[in-house]
Symmetry: C2
Subunit: 391 residues, 2 copies
């Protein structure tokens, strides 16, 4: 049979880049292309202990259907934490999701029609861009600089496009660039969103992984107008395999997103929600964060030191990062980036070509992304040495 | 701010019925309105044991990101089982989902455009109808009779509508009617789908819960043309809170649904997939099914006996069921169904008004649904006695 597929999904074509990514998961390959948090940062012993308690003491409720909004004690705990952090406003609500990816999905589904516009940082996280594309939304990119979005380009995009529904941003340790948006720019983005009557989708998967420098307050904490949808995640501070995240936004938005989630998957796996709740409230979460930040600091500094040693002398530029999982590198102008990443793969080193993070993957760029949390120390050392030798 | 919501979601209005459902979850209410499987049928001890083993022996892989398609050993096991049952064809593939509800979501998302038509049984499961509505699909209802869809009405619907993408059916112990489609009608539905070039979405959450009568072969087992998407679920045979189901269909369809799932939630909670796999392969699953069928048989027969005793003499008709969770009852013509369900609720008995399961909730119907798996035996006895006294 010749199947009919939705126009939105037919638009999501597999690209040359995705073929490279497929090859890069083969054994023996140094996985700079991954986006996995460091497994050694997972609190595995605590999770096993918590899980055992839940399944022995309260199996009836952990195994039965539950409410779409999420496990009530977890929502209550998050609310109190977010009030403490100045992110939760009086008219806000919280929805627990099956990972933060689902916040992107639900925002696109609830808050925009096919053909409407999303303004995003360029480069940006391909998983979110594809979530928006999968609802037929049109992406307009705004260049990222060392301190976040270019504000003039943002205002131009807001001025020139119709039916803009939201601005998508990862203000902390952005994926793939690793840069953090300055407070000044956060305020500018917020004020422009108010002026042009569009929402902001603030995605913060890496915020807790700061190992250096001063924390910058979130855009949500400025949100007196109720225009920010904040996506929180437990994938990096707890574990991604459990798939738990949350949306924080004005109650009216949360209520529509809840309707969408009910039709999408009824509710998030309850065991995972209970494990997250118990870990956040009955274990020393602060100390856990201190420990995992140290894991990331060590790997990031190892990686940047080697980039400095093997790649910088050959003309590679990069952003110094203070948290997150990635180092974003630019090849000299006379090197063809796609050729280079292909040659790296032939030499068993997988990096992600920068084109994967663009609104239009056909556009030319000389950037590529290195992930330092997945490979071992030895792999980082050997991998970057190989990249250097190819230049 | 005056929020903009997508046209698809704005169409999903909260109805009077949903208000009744909200009231019905209050404590002290006899919950005939629920759709929960019986908690006493969950293999809680085995799940605790399995979970503990996984988290102690293999915490690294259960907590890390995984592939969208699903846990490979679970997919392989399902494939072999489905081959044995004659459901898996050469060009088929399997996608593990976050509950079977996600199969409805992914089918609507991948296989239809806004405004396209889905033909569904009427009455049918509100969760699936709302999933289709949430993508702006137009529902056309075909009446359900004691042996399944009215085939003349189905052909008329296929004849009269354009851009029909799929026929949605629950052939075993349908929700809400409890009826099972005859083999003759399954073949007729399949042949009509082939003739009119539309897909079939076969939803089978209750098939394993047959406690009486002969099993009828699934529509998927007839599928030489690759036009059936089969939705399987572990919610009733294992536990719903873990949220694991699967889609079985031609590889080209599975591949598009996988793209959609990746943008929706990346992958299904890995712990739940591993628990399901271990339970299916290392425990006596067949014996578990025998035990839970007995739980359902006892409750169903208790319920139908009481309907016979207290309601039938007052003119209530119902379908005798051989499995599933529901008994579907029709009030005499001179009784106003919505009034009756409201009065029942005032007397602390919650049933679901039949209008909740219609394509157009404004249409008149005299049916209502009783769930027998959630309430205790005492609640079933008292509840049906109260319903009888109200007539």
């Amino acid at each position: 049979m010749d199947y009919f597929f939705s126009d939105n999904i037919n638009g999501l074509k597999p690209s040359a880049i995705r073929e490279i990514l497929k090859l890069s998961s083969k054994p023996g390959i140094i996985p700079f292309s991954a986006g996995n948090p460091a497994s050694e940062a997972f609190p595995t012993k605590a999770i096993a202990e918590i899980s055992n308690n839940i399944l022995i003491n309260d199996p009836g409720s952990v195994l039965q259907y539950s409410v779409t909004e999420g496990y009530a004690p977890l929502r209550e705990h998050l609310k109190n934490t977010l009030i403490g952090d100045g992110l939760f406003f009086n008219d806000d609500g919280i929805l627990i999701t099956s990972g933060a990816q689902q916040v992107m999905n639900l925002t696109a589904k609830a808050m925009a029609n096919r053909g409407d516009v999303v303004i995003c940082e360029e480069p940006s996280f391909i998983g979110s861009l594809n979530a928006f594309r999968s609802f037929g939304l049109r992406l307009v990119g705004v260049p990222v600089e060392s301190d976040g979005m270019n504000i003039e380009a943002l205002e131009k995009a807001l001025e020139e496009n119709n039916n803009i529904r939201f601005i998508y941003t990862i203000p902390n340790f952005q994926n793939p660039s690793g840069v953090t948006m300055s407070l000044e720019k956060r305020k500018a983005v917020y004020n422009l969103a108010v002026k042009y009557n569009v929402l902001i989708l603030e995605d913060n998967p890496y915020g807790a992984l700061r190992f250096k420098g001063e924390e910058v307050q979130s855009i949500k904490s400025l949100d007196t107008e109720g225009i920010v949808i904040y996506a929180g995640s437990f994938s990096k501070v707890l574990a991604p395999g459990i798939r738990v995240g949350y949306a924080l936004a004005n109650k009216n938005i949360i209520s529509k997103m809840t309707v969408c989630k009910q039709t999408d998957d009824v509710h998030t796996n309850l065991w995972a929600q209970m494990v997250a709740y118990e870990f956040l409230t009955k274990y020393d979460f602060k100390n856990h964060l201190i420990k995992i930040r140290e894991v990331y600091r060590r790997k990031a500094e190892l990686c940047m030191g080697l980039v400095e040693k093997h790649l910088a002398p050959k003309g590679v530029e990069y952003y110094k990062v203070e948290g997150g999982l990635f180092v974003w590198c630019r090849l000299p102008e006379d090197v063809d980036m796609l050729d280079f990443t292909m040659k790296a793969l032939e030499n068993k080193v997988a990096v992600v070509p920068g084109t994967a993070f663009l609104v239009d993957e056909e556009k030319k760029t000389n950037w590529f992304r290195i992930n330092f949390s997945t490979p071992s120390d030895e792999q980082i050392e050997r991998g970057i040495e190989i990249l250097g030798s190819l230049l």
